[in-house]
């Protein structure tokens, strides 16, 4: 593994690199900090292009709640700048290093390229919803601008959304512009103890139906409960509901929510510090940052489909799991094989969705499609879209197979 590694320092250098690769039909691995390298497959490439040297915040206008940064800017640098203004990325991007056993520096370009979204995605949208504009190099080596720096913009095709979550297979991101939100003054979490998965789903749905603006709804079955907050959560499965906002308002809403849900389960409350730690641990999939290569899936289905899907899967395979997004996002750690066909069959049976293999042994990854396979007509359309941006298949070949 001694591939040539390029770190362009300017957009123009990046474009030149791609033009040269295009002329030589030499495929490239596109990389930010490399902390999510394990997503999908690594196809054969001639060289690696890293955005590490395309770094730095280009523009930050706190009053507009908008920031522009070069793609390789470390996420930590961005979060530090936002902290100073009491602002945040609404979509709570996960740090995948612990669970994927990678090292390196997560970059803002990588966050958007992988559309990494955490617990607040349920109400505040995914990374793609916060992304306002991009600059990227297409497969012909041209610098392309899409979107802009304003929140409302319907001028032309929304290539911004397309670039988000494309894992570097459509272009080399050089700069991103994204929306910010004020950091809430206070956060509190209600813990409902002892609910089974189905009762937890109903309780989370009931909470989301109340006008209290729940900003996180997760269910941590007894098997994982002890691995959060250093074991400090009360006995039994924990169904956790987060409230955020102005301090006075959070207290009022927490009272209201607790009153509405108290017939369902005993309720305890976590203050701002514990709440912050808990939701970071949920975001980063802490129970499965276990140093193993046991297959780890990230499954998205309709919220009420999560619990029955897991129940059906348990009949046929050894699995440990917990739920975020009101029950619709399931992290599944398989005891043995990935069981991709079994899992994907169940997802179809329970109303559709998608499963992404976050982690597995090299042998399992080689034979398991990491991304949800698409029906033929949709796969053909996606392939035509890919070809319209990257006609020679230069970028991250095979990655999203």
């Amino acid at each position: 593994m001694s591939l040539p590694r390029h770190c362009p320092e300017t957009e123009m250098q990046a474009a030149e690199l791609v033009r040269a690769a295009s002329a030589a039909r030499a495929p490239l691995a596109i990389e930010g900090g490399g902390t999510r390298r394990g997503f999908g497959r690594a196809g054969a490439v001639s060289a690696v292009v890293s955005t590490a040297a395309l770094s730095g915040i280009s523009r930050y206008a706190p009053g507009e709640m908008v920031m522009t940064a070069r793609a390789g800017t470390p996420l930590a640098e961005i979060e530090a700048a936002l902290d100073g203004q009491r602002q945040m990325l609404a979509f709570e991007p996960a740090d995948h290093r612990p669970v994927m056993a990678t090292t390196g520096t997560p970059t803002i370009g990588g966050v958007f390229a992988a559309n990494v979204s955490g617990p607040r995605r349920l109400v505040a949208g995914a990374a793609r919803d916060s992304l306002l504009g991009v600059r990227f190099i297409n497969g012909a080596g041209e610098a392309i601008k899409a979107g802009g720096q304003v929140m409302k913009n319907v001028t032309g095709l929304d290539l911004v959304k397309l670039m988000a979550g494309s894992f570097g297979t459509l272009g080399l991101l050089t700069e991103v512009t994204f929306r910010l939100l004020p950091r809430p003054e206070r956060a509190e979490t209600l813990v409902l103890s002892g609910l089974d998965d189905a009762a937890a789903s109903s309780s989370m749905a009931a909470a989301m139906a109340l006008p209290v603006e729940v900003s996180g709804a997760a269910h941590l079955p007894e098997s994982v409960r002890g691995r959060f907050l250093s074991g400090a959560l009360p006995e039994g499965a924990a169904t956790v509901l987060r409230l955020e906002g102005l301090a006075a308002s959070v207290v009022l809403r927490a009272d209201k929510l607790a009153a509405a849900l108290s017939p369902r389960a005993p309720i305890t409350r976590l203050g701002p510090e514990e709440s912050a730690v808990l939701w970071r641990e949920i975001r980063d999939i802490k129970p499965y940052a276990d140093g193993t290569q046991k297959p780890l899936w990230r499954v998205s289905v309709a919220p009420m489909a999560g619990a029955p899907l897991l129940e059906a899967l348990r009949m046929e395979a050894g699995v440990d799991a917990f739920f975020d997004w009101q029950g619709g996002l399931i992290f599944l750690r398989m005891e043995a094989e990935p069981e991709a066909e079994l899992l994907r069959g169940l997802i179809r049976r329970f109303g559709g969705g998608h499963a992404t293999l976050l982690r597995a042994s090299a042998a399992a990854r080689a034979v398991t499609p990491a991304f949800e396979p698409q029906p033929p007509a949709l796969a053909a359309l996606s392939a035509r879209v890919k070809a319209s941006l990257d006609p020679h298949g230069l970028f991250n070949p095979g990655r999203m197979t």
């Binding site: 507009e64 949208g125 297979t169 035509r384 879209v385």
Partner: protein, 506 residues
């Protein structure tokens, strides 16, 4: 394109010339369509076609070849497969409320109207989704789920009439998107019929469609990528209450600074609406909302939540306004007063239409540029001898200058269009964009080069061609007619579905 078509008496925007070979086959085409559609699904008498010749951008009109009104996805698929095989352009249409000409047909095109597909198919409150046909009106979703304490958030001014299909085509916004986002942020899935009749599903009741975000591309695709026949939308628990406060300022600059400070203080109201002096006068004369007439700028700021939360937020907002020497503060003490505060704003376009003809611009600018752009907008209109009234969504920088003119005076109409173009150029130069929520349509098509380079546009057109290689869907819109890629020859029927798949997706 030198042979682009412009009709006598119209403005400078050209349409693609109708293809004579299609016009010549009109009778046969109508007979074929009649055979494939259920009763009531075809309109072709000239009188009956009249209502479809334009949309809410009435400056341009074209009679279509025929109008098809399919009753379900299968009929949409059949019509598209037929049109594709025959090389006939198709212009999708929701309720025809586009302000940018997005639904204006052309002589050799079929209008594909969604008005007969207007059912709410499923409401799933536990999963907080509604599955609807694309012809359902925006407001009817909130009306259906309102009694259960939910609503559908995007609320364009035309929400009583406009359809979800049209909202998806234009990625519509509304007054309350500052907090809840626009259509793309509230759309979970669609059933999409591709140009050759192939039906695909993008997304669904789950979050984040797998694979490439084609859903994000189709939303705002202005009917050029396919025809959406069904949608799954997100429902949100309705807040306990909402309350507006009205502020009057002696200068637009102070009002703009107040908006920026509210945002910077970490408060996200559901709406911040701005009106300047001419707009206040027009709206007050019409709505009698009790707006102050001695101020240069008026803000309506709305917060929502429980009573105590609204109190806390309003107190903070009023404190900020006082720092900016607010002259008038009117807090609503009742639902009636709240409705009155909104009444003037909501009637702005209608009220303006009573005093003059107007064209409505829709550029968005960064908040820091608001006062500068407002001032320059006034200067530009003055230089053309025209009046302008400004009514807009200040929280997200989406401006709506209304340029007043007399449509019976061709010279003045031309000046209004020229002034509008100058204003949009100004928005782009200030770091903004041509259109925040109305879409490009035909109206802003020829201005796209203000905002995008040739390479940017070529890339967008290449992506468009991945969906519709022959440019049959809404072909005269969005992209300037000059510089379009040469059309590929028509593929064999249904050949697209079997296109060879590169190995990345095999």
């Amino acid at each position: 394109m030198s042979d682009a078509m412009r009709l006598e008496g119209e403005g400078p925007i050209a349409f693609l010339p109708p293809r004579p070979e299609i016009l010549a086959r009109r009778a046969a085409i109508i007979a074929d369509l009649e055979a494939m559609l259920s009763p009531g699904g075809l309109v072709h008498a000239e009188r009956a076609l009249k209502p479809f010749e334009t949309d809410a951008y009435v400056a341009y009109r074209r009679l279509p070849l025929a109008v098809v009104l399919p009753k379900d996805t299968a009929e949409v698929s059949a019509v598209l497969a037929y049109a594709h095989a025959q090389g006939i352009p198709v212009v999708p249409r929701g309720a025809g409320t586009s302000l940018s000409g997005g639904a204006i047909p052309q002589e050799d095109a079929l209008v594909l109207g969604l008005s007969r597909m207007s059912r709410i198919l499923e409401v799933d409150l536990e999963n907080r989704t509604a599955r609807v046909e694309a012809g359902v009106t925006n407001l009817s979703i909130s009306e259906r789920v309102g009694p259960d304490g939910f609503f559908y958030a995007p609320d364009p001014s035309s929400q009583l009439a406009c359809t979800i299909g049209g909202n998806i085509g234009m990625n519509s916004g509304g007054a309350h998107c500052l907090k809840y986002g626009v259509t793309t942020n509230n759309l979970l899935g669609v059933t999409l019929v591709l140009v050759d009749g192939t039906v695909v599903t993008l997304g669904g009741p789950h979050l984040d469609a797998g694979g490439y975000d084609l859903l994000g591309l189709v939303c705002g695709g202005e009917g050029q990528l396919g025809v959406v026949t069904e949608a799954v939308v997100r429902l949100i628990a309705r807040p306990e209450g909402a309350r507006p406060v009205l502020f009057g300022f002696d200068s637009a600059t102070e009002a703009g600074a107040c908006v920026a400070d509210i945002i910077a203080a970490g408060i996200i109201p559901v709406a911040i609406e701005f009106m300047d002096r001419p707009a206040i006068a027009i709206c007050e004369a019409f709505a009698k909302a009790g707006y102050p007439l001695d101020v240069e700028a008026l803000l309506i700021v709305e917060v929502e939540g429980a009573e105590a939360e609204m109190e806390a937020m309003l107190e903070a907002i009023v404190t900020i306004a006082r720092r900016h020497r607010v002259k008038t503060v009117r807090e609503s003490q009742s639902a009636t007063e709240a409705a009155l505060i909104w009444k003037g704003r909501k009637s702005a376009f209608g009220a303006t239409g009573r005093v003059a003809d107007y064209i409505c611009m829709d550029g968005t600018v960064p908040l820091s540029q608001l006062s500068h752009v407002l001032r320059r907008t006034g200067e530009i209109c003055e230089s053309f001898g025209l009046q302008v009234a400004n009514v807009f969504h200040a929280g997200d920088g989406n401006m709506h200058p209304l340029i007043l003119f007399n449509a019976n005076d061709p010279d003045e109409a031309a000046k209004a269009e020229a002034a509008g173009n100058e204003i949009l150029k100004l928005c782009v130069e200030a770091g903004g964009c041509l259109t925040g929520e109305h879409g490009v349509g035909i109206e802003k098509r020829d201005l796209m080069r203000f905002q995008f380079s040739e390479a940017d546009l070529a890339q967008q057109m290449a992506v468009r061609a991945a969906f519709d290689p022959q440019w049959l869907l809404n072909p005269s819109k969005v992209f300037p007619l000059e510089g379009r890629p040469l059309l590929r020859p028509a593929p064999e029927r249904n050949a697209m579905a079997g296109t060879a798949v590169p190995e990345t997706f095999a």
